[in-house]
């Protein structure tokens, strides 16, 4: 849209200037193409999300450690697969060396991943995976089953072993959230949760206002609600805020995956007792490190390989060319202050 208005302004000027502009943009592109550094693009679900900002920091750290790497931190403004495809298309045009993606949709990004790999670009997915055909390897932040079961356990620890709870997820196509919810179902089938009732699953699309709205909707639809699991850093803050605004602290408890820095106030208020996450800095660090190891040709990123990943030690690739980084870490009133300083 901005582009259109610029074009119109240019059109109103004389032709010469237009030609100059086009020429200079060509120069710019060719200048970029011949830079020496290996360029690794870190594509996230959406810009402006604290979790990914922290991951980008980790990516920069890895780049500095290895040397000769330029990290391009990018992503769409809206958390959709279509917008991500556009971003990746432009990265392919820039001929980057590697693209590491946290996907908004597992399947929709497969064709564009294939296209990038055909152009000789190393494609990996991290945090939220792409289908197997669309990438070399996938790095899960943690063991999917463990994340799923942990969320249910945290919910039980927060609300007690009796009562209604609901899930507030990200987008309905999000690879990682959907996989965790599947695992939550498995854990929830165990007898110790028999008195808890899973009443609803709603989607806040990783947008704060939408998630907030959905949380309010949950309170209205289920007046006896005692807990919300939000396995997304945006949703968990929105849900906790909604609990506070509605005066439901002590009645409804929020848990899930969130950043200590964003959740600090909500743990203090009592809206959240316990929640968890892995270190996003480590995750961004590992994603860039692995991209470099594979793009440089040192490793193939195939099942059975164990790839040295700097300070994270070795990351071993398992079935489906997928690997897990580390266990989720639990936060509560006792340690939130300390970790809120870090991420």
């Amino acid at each position: 849209m901005l582009f259109i208005s610029i074009m119109i302004i240019i059109y109103r000027r004389n032709k010469m200037k237009k030609i100059l502009l086009v020429l200079s943009s060509f120069l710019l592109i060719s200048f970029n193409t011949y830079a020496d550094d290996m360029r690794i693009a870190l594509v996230v679900k959406g810009l402006g999300i604290g979790f990914f900002e922290a991951a980008a920091e980790g990516g920069e750290e890895a780049a500095k450690e290895i040397g000769g790497i330029e990290v391009i931190y990018t992503g769409p403004a809206t958390t959709t697969a279509e917008a991500q495809i556009e971003v990746i298309n432009s990265l392919i045009a820039q001929k980057v060396d590697a693209i590491a993606i946290s996907a908004n949709d597992r399947d929709a990004l497969v064709p564009i991943g294939k296209k990038a790999m055909q152009r000789g670009i190393t494609v990996i997915s991290w945090d939220s995976g792409i289908g197997e055909d669309g990438r070399v390897m996938n790095l899960d932040p943690s063991n999917t089953a463990l994340i799923g079961s942990s969320n249910i356990k945290w919910m039980k620890n927060s609300m007690g072993d009796e009562g209604e709870f609901a899930i507030l997820s990200a987008t309905s196509q999000a690879t990682n959230q959907n996989a965790w919810i599947e695992e939550m179902k498995k854990e929830f089938a165990k007898p110790e949760y028999s008195k808890m009732k899973w009443v609803d699953t709603v989607y806040g699309d990783d947008l704060f206002d939408k998630s907030y709205q959905e949380a309010l909707g949950l309170f209205k639809k289920h007046p006896n609600l005692k807990g919300i699991i939000a396995p997304t850093s945006v949703g968990i803050v929105a849900a906790a805020k909604a609990v506070e605004d509605q005066g439901l602290v002590g009645k409804v408890f929020v848990t899930g995956l969130g950043l200590p820095s964003e959740m600090k106030a909500h743990v203090k208020s009592g809206a959240a007792i316990q929640f968890g996450i892995w270190n996003p800095i480590d995750l961004g660090y590992s994603a860039v490190y692995l991209s470099h190891q594979i793009a440089s040709g040192a490793f193939k990123g195939q099942e059975g390989e164990c790839i040295p990943t700097g300070r994270m030690g070795e990351i071993c690739i398992g079935a489906g060319n997928s690997a897990a980084m580390a266990d989720p870490f639990i936060f509560d009133a006792s340690n939130i202050d300390k970790f809120a300083e870090i991420f």
């Binding site: 849209m1 901005l2 259109i4 208005s5 999300i49 604290g50 709603v202 959905e214 309010l216 909707g217």
Partner: protein, 322 residues
């Protein structure tokens, strides 16, 4: 007299809303509890304010697509400032947010009135520019609840007659707009310009002046909502209010503001916003799959418009309404 009221657009719209509340109330009695309905009003307040200010622009046959970006940029700027100077009084931040919004609105107005760039191109452009500037000033990071000062957030939770501060602001804006459009020369002239621009120019109304004024006011209220939005959700991110301009414009259209200009009432516009706010809140509260909600809310909006327009034939274009 009574017949005239009952067949008026505004009354029909009002009836649709009441009917909707009753239907949802039967499906989920919890929804019609006073506390729950007051939540709906709180939630719709920002939409009412923005719809009323958008109405000024639509009346003169234009549109302001940049309101949501304007809101977000003003909100982000004062949020960043409040993290640096938390001791400043909250009224300062509100005034600053309004000023930033007004300035951004003036830029729109000047581009359209003086530089003669079509309004759709200008506001599409500034929609991206203002949104882009948020990334620039915030470095893509968000300001979250613990970073705001307590005063900054406290005001929004103040309640009067058990209705929220946000709602009372919307009431104040409603009264202001009602007087402005019905009882001042400024308001009458806006209707004239939208109804028949050529005639309005012949009788000596300075079109450019009114374009700039309308966009400045639209910007002013977007700035005000910038503070309200950030304080309400106590988070300022690059994503705030993304796509909200379309909700605002649909509220205007549902409320019977003609995009052909010159037609529409303050009451109708407010009811339009209330209907949309009601749908947004009611659908999650009844047991309808979330995947259906978007389509259903679109369908309800369309039906409301059809019922609304069928009941009243469009009048001949008038220079002075009523």
């Amino acid at each position: 007299m009574i017949k005239k009221i009952i067949t008026s657009r505004d009354f029909i719209l009002f009836a649709i809303i009441v009917f909707g509340v009753v239907v949802v109330g039967i499906a989920n009695p919890f929804f019609v509890k006073p506390s729950s309905l007051s939540d709906v009003l709180t939630d719709t307040s920002i939409l009412i304010i923005l719809a009323l200010s958008q109405m000024l622009v639509i009346l003169i046959r234009a549109i302001d697509l940049s309101v949501a970006s304007n809101l977000a940029l003003s909100g982000m700027l004062i949020s960043l400032l409040s993290t640096i100077y938390p001791e400043l009084p909250v009224i300062f931040f509100i005034l600053l947010s309004c000023s930033i919004g007004t300035f951004l609105g003036v830029l729109n107005g000047v581009s359209i009135a003086i530089l003669k760039v079509p309004f759709i191109v200008t506001t599409l452009g500034t929609l991206s520019i203002y949104r882009g500037l948020i990334y620039f000033v915030s470095d893509g990071k968000q300001v979250y609840s613990s970073e705001f000062s307590e005063d900054f957030l406290a005001l929004i939770h103040y309640k009067f007659l058990s209705l929220s501060f946000l709602f009372w602001i919307a009431v104040a804006v409603f009264i202001l707009m009602y007087i402005l459009l019905n009882h001042t020369r400024f308001g009458r002239n806006l209707y004239s310009l939208g109804g028949n621009p050529d005639a309005a120019k012949y009788i000596g109304i300075n079109e450019n002046k009114y374009i700039i004024l309308a966009y400045s006011l639209s910007g002013f209220f977007a700035g005000l909502c910038g503070y309200l939005w950030v304080a309400r959700y106590s988070v300022a991110s690059t994503q705030i209010a993304i796509g909200f301009e379309l909700t605002v414009i649909s509220a205007c259209v549902v409320g019977g503001i003609s995009v052909m200009g010159g037609v529409g009432t303050v009451i109708g516009c407010t009811l339009g916003a209330l209907l949309i706010g009601f749908i947004r809140n009611a659908l999650p509260a009844v047991d309808i799959s979330q995947f259906w909600q978007l389509a259903i809310s679109g369908a309800i909006i369309l039906i409301a418009i059809i019922i609304n327009t069928k009941t009243e034939q469009r009048k001949e274009k008038t220079i002075m309404v009523e």
